[in-house]
Amino acid sequence: MSLGELYREIIMDHVRSPRGKGSIPTPDIRVGLDNPTCGDEVVVEARLDDDGRLGDVKFQGEGCTISMAAASMMTETVTGMTLDEALALASAFKRMLMGEADGADLGELEALSGVRQFPMRVKCASLSFTALEKGIQQAKEASPDGDQ
C-alpha cells in the first residue's frame, strides 16, 4: 500500500488551489451534506443556464484532502453538463470508487481511483458527488417539465 497511489500530484494540486470554492448568490441547487463518521461537511451550490445545463458549480466545506480534492474536481468536471449527464458521471465515479470500473471516461477524476484501495475513504471521495446528485434530484422534482 503506497501513499503515492492515493495522494497523486493532481489531487494535491486541487487541495493547494481548490477550484470552484465559494458560494453562488441565488443558486438553483443547494445541498449541504455531512459525513457523520468524521464530521466532514460540504455544501454544493449550482446555477442552471437557460438551457438547463449546470452553468456554475461551487462548493464550500471542511474536510480531508480526499473529500476537498474530489469536490474541487467535481465542480470543474460537471460545469456545462446537463443534469442527466452529471448524474451519469456521478454514478460512474462512484462505481470506480467501488472498484467496478466499466470503461467510462472520467477524465481527471480518474486520479481518485486509488481510493478504491482504501475502503474507509470512499465516503470522503463521494461526499460532494452525493450532494450534487441530491441537489439535481430536488431540482428535477421541483420542475419535472424542465428542458432536460
Partner: protein
Amino acid sequence: MNALSIKARFPILQETVDGRPLVYLDSAASSQKPDAVVEAMRDYYVHDNANVYRGVYRLAARSTERYEAARARVAAFIGALPEELIFTRGSTESLNLVAWAWARQRLGPGDEILTTVAEHHSNLVPWQEVSRATGAELRFIDLTPEGEITEAAVKAAITPRTRLVAVHHASNVLGTLAPVKAIAAAAHRVGALVIVDGAQSVPHMAVDVKDLDVDFLAFSGHKMLGPMGIGGLYGKTALLREMGPFHTGGEMISHVDPTASTFKEPPQKFEAGTPNVAGAIVLAEAVGFLEEIGMSEIEAHDRALGEMAAERLREIPEVEVYGPRGPRTGVVSFNLEGLHPHDLATSLDSENIAVRAGHHCCQPLMHHLGAPSTARASFYLYNTEEDVDRLVEGVLAAREFFGHVLR
C-alpha cells in the same frame, strides 16, 4: 510488567503487513484479545453450550453455573455483588437501560439532569431523549478550556432540583479523569443519583463502585480484552429492586397471566431473553487475564505510555496535543497543523499503525476544543515504548509527505 511478553499472548499483534507488525493504538475503540480469551470462546461452544436457567439436563446446568460464576467474577472485579451486576450488550445499552427503566419513569418538569459536553454520545443522547420525553431540563457542568471537570464546577452546577448526574469516569478523547467520588458525594447531598460511564476506566484501572459510591456504572467488555456484545451495568440493589424492567419477555418473569405479569428479582429482571452466555463467560476469562497482570500495573503502564506519547508529540512544532498535561489514561488526541486527521490516519496506516481519526462520538467536546476532529492514539497493556517510537516516526513521515500542502 513486561509489555513485550504480554504482547506475545495476543495473536493479532503477531501478524504482519508488508513485513511490518501491527502497531495497534486504538484500544479506546476496542481492545485486542489474548489467546486465552479466544480459546475460552471456543471452549464454551465445544463443551458447555446450552441455554441458561431453562433446561433440567446436566449440560444446561453447567452452562447456567458458568454464566453465574462469570457474573460473580466480573462483579467482584468492580467491587460489586453478583446481584448488582446486569449483563448488557455494553455501555450504550447499560446507559439506555437506566434512561428507560429509571429516568423516564421518575423524572418530570422541574427536574434537572446534569451532564457535560465531554460525554461520549452514548452518555448524552439518551439524556437528551429523556429530557424531551419527560420535560426534565438537561444542564451542563462547565468544563475547563482544556476539557476537564473540576469539583468547583460540579458544586456550582448542582442544584436542589438535580435528580441525576451522568458523567464519564475517563474521557475517551482526552484521557482525563473526572472526580467521580466528589461528584457522587455532591449529588447525594441533594438526593440526586449518579450514573458513571466507565467504558474508558474499567479496562484501565482498579474501579471500586463501593469506594466511589456511585449509583450506576456502565462498562463494555470488548474494551477490556473481552468479546464484543457483552458489557455490564452495576446498580445499587435498592435501586434495581424498585425500578421496573427495561426489556420484557422470557426469563425475566416470575409469573405470566394473559393480561399481566410479575417479574423476577434483579439482575434477572433486566435480562430478558437468552443472554449472551458465551460473552459473559469469556468476559470473565478476560477479567482473569487483567487480574493476573494487575490493574494498578496496567494503569501505571498505560499512563506512562500516554504521557510519553503526549510529550514526544508536543516536541513536534506542528503538532497540537489536546487536553491538560498531567494525570491521564493512555489516550492522546492530537492534530498535525493543516492536515485533516483522516489523512494523518491513512498516512499512519500505510506504516501499519492503527489510530482513530474523527470526532470520537464526541461532537460537543470537539466544538468545545475548537477542533472539528482529531487523531487519537490510545495505549493498553500490550503496547510498548517502541510503539510510541513508531507513532512519532509515523507522524514525522506524514509531515514530510504532506509538507508541500500544509500551510
